[in-house]
Symmetry: C2
Subunit: 123 residues, 2 copies
């Protein structure tokens, strides 16, 4: 029991929390958001930065984040090749909560890892 929950609606289908989890609850969305939190970037910069992401999935992920208002796709007018992705104000406001998850992950990864090893050894 951690604190009082103001929202029992959290267990109802398609409540705000579940919808947001659907947006960021895939393999790459959070990583892409982190990546853009350093500042706006071009497509290939993102791809080079994130190890292991394929072109198709990067495009899908960017579109989905753009669709939900978390990032912006800005075509630079002077240069023909100038397409930049950046966080919106909305997306930026989500970074802080997400960093809490990342902080927790680095702090508690050892414990998770040993729990997993122990479980796998016994089952």
């Amino acid at each position: 029991m951690v604190r009082n929950f103001p929202e029992p609606e959290i267990f109802t289908l398609n409540c705000p929390t579940q919808q947001v989890l659907d947006i960021i609850g895939n393999k790459w969305s959070v990583i892409v958001l982190y990546c853009l939190a350093y500042g706006s970037k071009r497509y290939t910069q993102i791809q080079r930065r994130i190890e292991g992401i394929s072109q198709k999935v990067l495009t899908q992920t960017l579109r989905n984040l753009e669709r939900n208002g978390l990032i912006e796709r800005i075509a630079n007018i002077q240069s023909s090749t100038g397409i930049e992705y950046s966080l919106t104000t909305l997306g930026e406001s989500l970074i802080e909560p997400l960093l809490e998850i990342s902080d927790w992950s680095r702090a508690n990864f050892e414990e998770v890892s040993t729990a997993r090893d122990l479980y796998d050894a016994n089952n």
Copy 2:
């Protein structure tokens, strides 16, 4: 640009953050953790509480959370039907960060929703 990142390792494959995201980045894990944050519960209590989850997926989700040390499965000795699930200390420490996501979701859901509607209308 939100704050300085102490961890560029976040973009490397299977770093702590990505591994944790793999654990909780599915449809029901976070909801189940929320559910147990209210206190320990039996299997059917959880199932009744969470709208739309199937037996199979609930079992899978519980096993996975148990495997990674976030919840505990306790078989009560006196009663044959007494199996309780509860957060471990580790799992409890993850609730607070997760609640930040939930808070954000409720606070910013309107904006996400309208962004999505606007995008869908234009594409």
